[in-house]
């Protein structure tokens, strides 16, 4: 039914939920909704059955009134032959549309098998927009092999892919927009140290294999499974360099506060990855300030700009505090929450700073904040203090970074299964 465009829902007991998902994925309909009641239903009194049915009515109605799920256009992974010569192989990969422009390593059967280890190759991890391509462990591993990753990196890559498919992230828009954004991966917990994912000096730059190959693997999965090609389905007007790879660990040892993962309900010993639909980092240089209040001037001044998606769409821009800046703020007695509130309050732009034409456009998108407002109204860069994301990363030096996002996207944190 679903394959013919008629919304359908699978009903079952919770004992069979994984079977339902596996079967629908195998038929190219991984999004087919499955609604369950608690197992068993055989030999249960009619009243009890009715009670369980009452509990799922809303879920069934929701499932039947959405757009029909697309039949995935992604074929099962197939093996193709390419040239043995490494230089010729680069040309081949670009002709196939699989590369990012930098040299890749051949994703041979043996290299992909080594990355996968004993995992199930056909396990469905996520369905990725815009093509609704099915990311299986095998297709993820093949892209990781191209990107130069090893088996140890796979759990982080898989977790990130799972997070990107969360509807709150709005992957379809992130993948296809003209805005320069790409998933920024923030890794927390012990796995960062174990894999050498840097949160120290130059962590947002070059020089660290784990950062480079994890971020790059995710980008290649988004391109080759999700189906975005620059200039075709990826319509970024300019893009940004982080689209090659964009992965950083939080420098938890150097932070005066709880890590991002702990803020979001995970334990310090749990490893997580957080994905954000981010622009490139913009530097905040402040070598003079010695208190939180003083340093805030440079931070909010860098964030409060008129050309930001966040200011009219909302979302969660990220402040990446260098450890020295973070220490300066904490030494003034501020918690992370205090900082978020002060940053939210200070990072604002008066309506008169925008062109009248732009305000008119914003008023259509968000009438509550922009329609018929006096010109001296102040517009905050984030709608609430909680929308300000804060991590500590980097090495010695008096620099921090502000990282705006696409706006119509929420960051998603998931645990990394090891």
């Amino acid at each position: 039914m679903e394959g013919r465009g008629i919304p359908a829902v699978v009903l079952g007991t919770d004992a069979f939920v994984s079977l339902g998902h596996t079967a629908s994925a195998a038929l190219g309909l991984p999004h087919l909704p499955v609604v369950t009641v608690s197992h068993p239903i055989g030999g249960v009194a009619a009243d009890d059955v009715r009670k369980r049915a009452d509990g799922i009515v809303d879920a069934v109605v929701t499932a039947l009134t959405r757009d029909p799920a697309p039949v995935s256009a992604t074929p099962a992974a197939e093996t193709v032959s390419g040239p043995d010569d490494l230089d010729a192989f680069q040309e081949f990969v670009m002709t196939q549309g699989w590369g990012d422009g930098l040299p890749v390593l051949p994703a041979t059967r043996s290299r992909v098998a080594r990355i996968l280890g004993r995992r199930r190759i056909d396990e469905v991890v996520a369905t990725l927009a815009p093509r609704q391509g099915i990311a299986t462990l095998q297709t993820i591993a093949a892209n990781a092999a191209l990107a130069g990753a090893g088996p140890e990196h796979l759990p982080v890559i898989v977790a990130a892919i799972r997070a990107l498919a969360d509807p709150r992230f709005n992957l379809f828009a992130i993948q296809t927009t003209t805005h320069p954004c790409t998933p920024l991966l923030i890794v927390n917990g012990p796995i960062a140290r174990r894999l050498g994912i840097s949160g120290g000096p130059n962590a947002l730059g070059n020089g660290y294999r784990a950062n480079a190959v994890i971020g790059r693997s995710v980008r290649l999965v988004l391109q080759n499974v999700g189906g975005t090609k620059p200039g075709s389905t990826d319509r970024a007007t300019q893009g940004h360099p982080g689209k090659f790879s964009y992965c950083v660990a939080e420098n938890e040892e150097a932070s005066p506060w709880e890590p991002l993962s702990v803020e979001r309900g995970f334990g310090r010993h749990e490893s997580t990855v957080t994905v954000c639909g981010s622009e490139g980092p913009h530097n905040v240089n402040d070598h003079g300030s010695t208190s939180a209040e003083a340093l805030l001037r440079a931070l909010i001044g860098t964030a409060a700009t008129t050309g930001s998606n966040n200011i009219y769409l909302g979302g969660e821009p990220l402040v990446v505090l260098g450890p020295e800046h973070a220490q300066t703020i904490a030494a003034s007695g501020w918690s992370k929450r205090d900082f978020k509130r002060a940053f939210w309050d200070g990072a604002r732009v008066p309506l008169r700073a925008f062109s009248a034409e732009n305000v008119e456009r914003f008023a259509v998108i968000d009438p509550e904040r922009f329609k018929d407002k006096p010109r001296d109204t102040v517009i905050h860069v984030t709608k609430t203090p909680d929308d300000v994301m804060v991590i500590v990363a980097g090495g010695p030096g008096k620099h921090s970074a502000f990282v705006p996002t696409f706006g119509d996207t929420r960051s998603v944190t998931v645990p990394i299964a090891e």
Partner: protein
């Protein structure tokens, strides 16, 4: 574009309109969603800075094509 494709799949006539620089994107998306010959309309890029009057003019120019596509369907 995708909304139009989904509406058609659900049996509701649709007419997606892009600006011409996005024709390649529209076609790529139609191919990805299994309807490579999906018909849609294009108008000159850009439209973001047009005045209300200019937009009305654009709408008038394309209205008959929209009506035609809605009535003829994708066959």
């Amino acid at each position: 574009m995708l909304d139009g494709i989904l509406l058609e799949k659900a049996g509701v006539p649709s007419a997606s309109i892009v600006t011409d620089v996005f024709e390649i994107t529209g076609r790529a998306m139609a191919e990805q969603w299994g309807v490579p010959y999906y018909k849609f309309l294009a108008m000159p890029h850009p439209i973001a800075n047009l005045t209300e009057a200019q937009l009305d003019q654009r709408a008038r120019e394309i209205a008959s094509e929209v009506a035609k596509l809605l009535l003829q369907g994708q066959e």
